[in-house]
Amino acid sequence: MELAPALTTNHDLEQELVALYPALARRMAMVLRDPDIAQDIAQSTMVRALEHRRRFTGGDLRAWVYTIGLRLAFNELRRRRTVQGRSSAEEPTWAMTMDPDLWVALAAIEPRARAALFLSVLDGYTHAEIGRILGAREGTVSSWLSRAKDRLRSALEEDDR
């Protein structure tokens, strides 16, 4: 058994990271749409964040963690290529119980755009901040958000008729 060098760490940072786990897990479930993959990615994100915690130089810890998590998530989606084509029978109960119309409408949005939508609408990040988190240009983020909202507006208003 190898004993790695002791790591000095900021106790508060670890506590904050641990406290972020539930929100991270929920966000991954919203973006990835598969609870098992979401939990795997959330856990991998926490390991990665703890491993690299010295690289966090202050600022928005949630954005830092989301950056790690979303990039792992998109790598995983590229690997699996199973986002499309799920039948409604495979959709998670929690989503289909809470708001099936919204959940189904969100499925039509490309995963990066979906993540951008959540970062904008739920977290209030600016387009520039979202671009940094997702590794995309600000203009691309603006385009994603515009198309995502148009698509949701169309789908949800149609459901209301």
């Binding site: 790695a4 106790h11 641990v18 786990y21 539930p22 929920r26 979401a38 939990q39 939508l117 909202k149």
Partner: protein, 119 residues
């Protein structure tokens, strides 16, 4: 803020709040997906461990978990910050806080490789 935007935000908030956010399966055996071993990772203040609800996964008993920690070299009573385990539930990495408050890492972080997409 438009009505659509505020309504969308409210619906997204409710939907996300319903999403699963269980603490990592601290006592669960790691799951495997295809050839890739998915490491179970614990964020284990012992309080989290005690309250962790593990649904649908085979679980190690608390006693087995504690025993494996001791075997891996973690001092009794130490607070485990995180761990990775292989598909058989054997620890690969354990991060724990020693008596001085420093985090000690036993083992090495197991990388999860993302192979290139198959054609």
């Amino acid at each position: 803020m438009t009505h659509f935007h505020s309504d969308l935000r409210a619906r997204l908030l409710r939907l996300e709040a319903a999403a699963p956010d269980a603490a990592p399966a601290a006592t669960a055996a790691p799951r495997t997906h295809g050839k890739r071993t998915v490491a179970a990772v614990g964020l284990l203040s012992l309080a989290i461990l005690a309250s962790a609800a593990v649904v649908g996964e085979p679980a190690l008993s608390r006693a087995t978990y504690e025993s494996r920690l001791r075997d891996f070299g973690v001092p009794a009573g130490a607070e485990v910050v995180a761990f990775q385990a292989d598909a058989d539930g054997n620890f690969l990495t354990v991060m724990y806080r020693d008596s001085s408050g420093q985090v000690v890492t036993l083992g090495g972080i197991e990388r999860q490789h993302t192979p290139p997409p198959t054609p």
